[in-house]
Subunit: 635 residues, 2 copies
């Protein structure tokens, strides 16, 4: 027997195995999850681990680089244990299916990779840099500078249709000659063509960065990505400044119709540019080394981004100006990166359902999965995507920003200082905050937990009404009830963290809108919730959502918890996958074109379903049998 010790970010898990067992087998017996896309064939390289010490027998190194092999990385599936061995498991090898990228609070960001079950795409960033050393011209080889450069690029990379602009051609001769014919070219994917968009002297290929943006109705998230390593370096988020012109997209479109779209466009530009500036300052990245931006978001947000007319999105039959805008120069809309850098938009599905849902489908691998999947993306609009690799259908439910912490008395975004989880045990409240410091407020996941716990404890009734008789933490202020969760003495701001009666009602309306939408779509397809092999919950929450508590709230149907997974902000995960893989971006386009869009308003019973869902967990308790049973036992 030999002892294998797995080192997992501080934690150590040990197991004794017989000699000759593979590291993958050892890991699986401990319950340590290792990625293994190829199923142990030694091909994919996703199960890579670092052997720190001990006796092993090497096998194939699959897709590992020589550098990695030198450093001691091996494939767990191909490496046999000969004696005691210490193995470090890198973060990217441990990322669980469906948790490809958990964007905790956008301050703790992980390596991005296309994970999930069948989700695996060839790495080929939409913007690529190539270092070239050109042969100098001679009488026997006096091609023009332009053609010489193209010839060299094509000797290195397959680019059937290569094009460039006049400004480039005007500058190339001097750049080539001033740098002894050694230059780095930046190539950008534009559909089936490739643009030569930059030529720099010398070898600058090591510095190539991209920006991924998720423009939510309430929240804007920006990530900085290293296009060479595929790693997310950092992220930052803020509320969408357009909020002052309305919490929902409809009001903003009306504002644009009346006052022109410029102000809304300009606000989102300022948000994105502000976040980019923060990231490049914090990470000491040169703005000119950022060659690309990819934006995901709902249809309306992406229209405002591009200054496209959004008027007709809100009127039947909900027609967008463009569902798949072409790549353009980012500066054309005012995004401040390399002046010749490109802006990509994740293609939209149609009607209210935008690029965020396309990105979500991509990130969760629904388009490649045999398994029937329900994806619920919880945001100010709740998008619902149902399907598998053969078909997909989607709709959008208007929830309002309650789950994004907006509007609640002590609400805040899922960022440092936000209470993200709440447990009540015997009237005692325990909570955790993002960043582990003193709490500043409470974010969406914390609000969900809190309402569920209040309900379980009987402090609110099925209608969500706080009962002051049940706790002295429930008080009356300005003629409305509120529950004091954390007294000001324990908070960073010195103010009490509370949840008010209207806060609870907002949350109930939001969950009812989403639950009703999910239920109607599922039923209209003749399905039951039990038919889903996976129910994936996406959204810009903290580290995770407590699945059981979302069921107690009545947001998520009452099905066995193991089928439910929280998958984080799939909009930005999918956007990054597209930015890092031309194949993934192409897949987005195919998906966006093939998904069927339905409008909830066309279902006459939507309003009734909504009203019925305004209770905890629902008017019809038979829909939540295990919750009902659990609660009846507790009380």
């Amino acid at each position: 027997m030999a002892r294998v010790s797995f080192y997992l970010d501080g934690e150590v898990v040990e197991i004794d195995v017989e000699q000759g067992a593979t590291l993958l087998e050892a890991a699986s017996r401990t319950g340590v999850y290792l990625n293994s896309l190829c199923g142990g064939e030694g091909i994919c390289g996703t199960c890579k681990v670092l052997v720190k010490d001990g006796q092993i027998e090497h096998g194939s190194i699959g897709l590992l680089t020589k550098e990695e092999a030198k450093e001691g990385y091996v494939l767990a599936c191909q490496t046999k244990v000969l004696g005691d061995v210490k193995v470090e498991v890198p973060l990217e090898t441990r990322i669980e299916e469906g948790q490809i990228l958990i964007d905790k609070d956008a301050e703790k960001l992980h390596t991005i990779r296309a994970g999930g079950e069948e989700v695996f795409f060839a790495r080929e960033p939409l913007l690529d840099k190539l270092y070239l050393e050109l042969p100098k011209p001679s009488l026997d080889d006096n091609l023009s500078d332009h053609q010489r450069l193209y010839r060299e690029i094509r000797s290195k990379k397959k680019v059937p249709i290569l094009h460039t602009g006049l400004t480039m051609l005007q500058g190339i001769p001097a750049i080539l000659r001033n740098n002894e014919w050694a230059v780095t070219v930046t190539l950008g994917v534009k559909g089936d063509t490739t643009e030569l968009l930059q030529v720099e002297g010398g070898d600058t290929s090591g510095k190539n960065y991209g920006i991924a943006v998720d423009i939510g109705t309430s929240t804007v998230v920006v990530h900085l990505v290293d296009l060479n390593s595929s790693k997310t370096i950092d992220g930052e988020a803020k509320y969408n400044s357009q909020m002052k012109y309305g919490e929902d997209v409809t009001r903003r479109i009306i504002h644009a119709d009346e006052e022109g779209p410029e102000e809304l466009h300009s606000l989102i530009m300022d948000d994105i540019n502000g976040l980019i500036s923060t990231l490049i300052f914090r990470n000491k990245v040169r703005r000119d080394d950022i060659t690309s931006v990819i934006c995901s978001g709902n249809t309306t947000m992406l229209h405002f981004l591009l200054n496209l007319p959004a008027s007709w999105i809100r009127k039947t039959p909900y027609v967008s100006a463009s569902a798949s805008p072409p790549p353009i120069r980012a500066t054309e809309v005012g995004i401040k990166i390399n002046p010749r850098g490109l802006l990509y938009v994740v293609p939209m599905i149609g009607g209210w359902v935008g690029g965020d849902t396309t990105a979500g489908g991509l990130a969760c691998g629904i388009n490649k999965s045999e398994r029937l999947t329900l994806l619920i993306d919880i945001g100010t609009n709740g998008e619902i995507l149902i399907g598998n690799k053969d078909w997909m259908i989607t709709c959008s439910a208007s929830a309002g920003p309650a789950f994004e912490g907006m509007g609640a008395e002590s609400g805040m975004r899922a960022s440092r200082g936000a209470i993200e989880h709440v447990t009540m045990i015997d009237g005692r409240i325990e909570y955790s905050t993002i960043g582990d410091g003193k709490p500043k407020g409470i974010c969406g996941s914390g609000l969900i937990d809190l309402v569920a716990e209040l309900f379980k404890a009987g402090l609110v009734d099925r209608r969500g009404v706080l009962d002051p008789r049940k706790s002295d933490r429930i008080r009356e202020r300005d003629s409305q009830s509120e529950f004091v969760m954390v007294p000001g003495s324990e908070t960073e701001t010195g103010k009490d963290i509370v949840i008010t009666q209207p806060d609870i009602e907002n949350l109930l309306r939001a969950k009812a809108a989403i639950y009703a939408g999910v239920n109607i779509l599922v039923k209209s397809l003749g399905l039951e919730f039990g038919d889903f092999e996976r129910i994936l919950i996406a959204g810009g929450f903290g580290s995770y959502l407590d699945r059981r508590k979302t069921q107690i709230l009545g947001l998520i149907p009452d099905i066995p918890l193991e089928r439910i997974k929280f998958v984080g902000n799939t909009s930005i995960i999918g956007a990054k996958m597209a930015l890092l893989s031309r194949e993934a971006f192409t897949t987005c386009h195919r998906m966006a074109e093939s998904v069927t869009y339905v409008d909830l308003i066309s279902f006459p019973n939507y309003y009734d379903e909504f009203m019925a869902a305004l209770f905890l967990p629902h008017t019809d308790l038979e829909r939540f049998p295990t919750i009902t049973e659990e609660l009846s036992q507790e009380v």
Copy 2:
């Protein structure tokens, strides 16, 4: 027997033929030239004629349209004569091989078609307009405006890669709705892709114009082309305003190196824009209906056009910044047409040999011909192209602007009022002027004729020296000899039209440069002039060049006249062919890449050859045996 009467633009040619003969046979017996690309197979449609009256037996109508058939057009090769018949021969059917477009004085312009022997390209203008009536969106069909438009375009035309810009997408929704979903789109070819560059309300497809430009070192020619009918509507030319910075391209490049290229760029822009303005005013064409410009010219001129650095063209190994610049927006360099219209550049071959030679090769169908051809394009630079469909080789000889009427005392461009032909019979001078009015000056073809006639008459000797003893028209003025061709009393200006001793010497230097280049290139290939099945002379002359007189001058080798053809300004003819046919433009690119460029300076005997050619017709009379014999008989 039956009488066939051919009506040819005023002239009538009649012939009696036996019944059953075809119209093509009848025409060939009269010497009336009819195009017949397919050799009488009834396939190509190029021999179409209009039967006005008489008995015929119909055959295949080949590529004729139904409308044409209805109007009475038939294929001459497929139509048998049964009785007396009157036949009108349209201009395009009569255009002779190699004379596809004789741009007389750019005021008399003909229909363009790709003619010549095997030269035939599918009509598909680089800029095309399509009228579309789109289905209105509905809940069942709520594609975005962008995708709806693409779908409709693709239902009408094969455009695998279609792209457009942000400005277009921003404007499309309103245009579609303000015009009841009936719009005209403008599509522009960009390599293997197609750009949607304009959407107009209603049906504007009838108005689609292009501009073809030949930027010569000395002369700028602009034609206005109807892209629907493929007809040249009008043309206009002027001297290149860059002349003030040097007669030859080398001096202009040096000027650009020293002072920056902006002034030279700006001058050529003004020339082109001025000529375009004249044409659109004269022909009442809306500037916005001009959707494209195509420019041909030598390498340096095309570099100045695009503001590309030209410095390295003049230094060994003669490298251009770009030999095949991509299509760009014409406004990007300052050409004033439709603001979204495209500028195409005829691809250059390399070194000094530019798009004018590519266009020339295209216009003369050298790339499709079995026959070994020598093309001499006479301009300020003389370009020489030798080859056939299997191989081509080219070089450039610096002649100076003498043949363009520049620098000569009474010289002028081949435009209205220029003496274009001169004959001396027994000391009496006969001449013809362009436009048939009083002469204002003398253009290149007139100068060639005049020197040849003066030499034949013994008024100049073999060195080109005027002999005042031989004619009282030879006088001394400002201590130089000159021959008075037309006294001021007969000229429009009131000034004598003369040729001075320096004028003659300039012409001799120009012809010597070109003849030496041709001779060196031919000899270096191990060829004799007799090996050429066709010798084509191109240039911006008047209606034609007198071939015999170019031989007397020693410009063109002494080979049988029937092998020599004057083919006009092939630079602009080829450019127009490319503008009217995507296939032709593609052919230009292939040709430009495959032609071999040689530099005359690399031939050490070039200077000796040049010196030997400074005589009339040449130092070595054995090279011009028939001329020598003819002159010895006359004298």
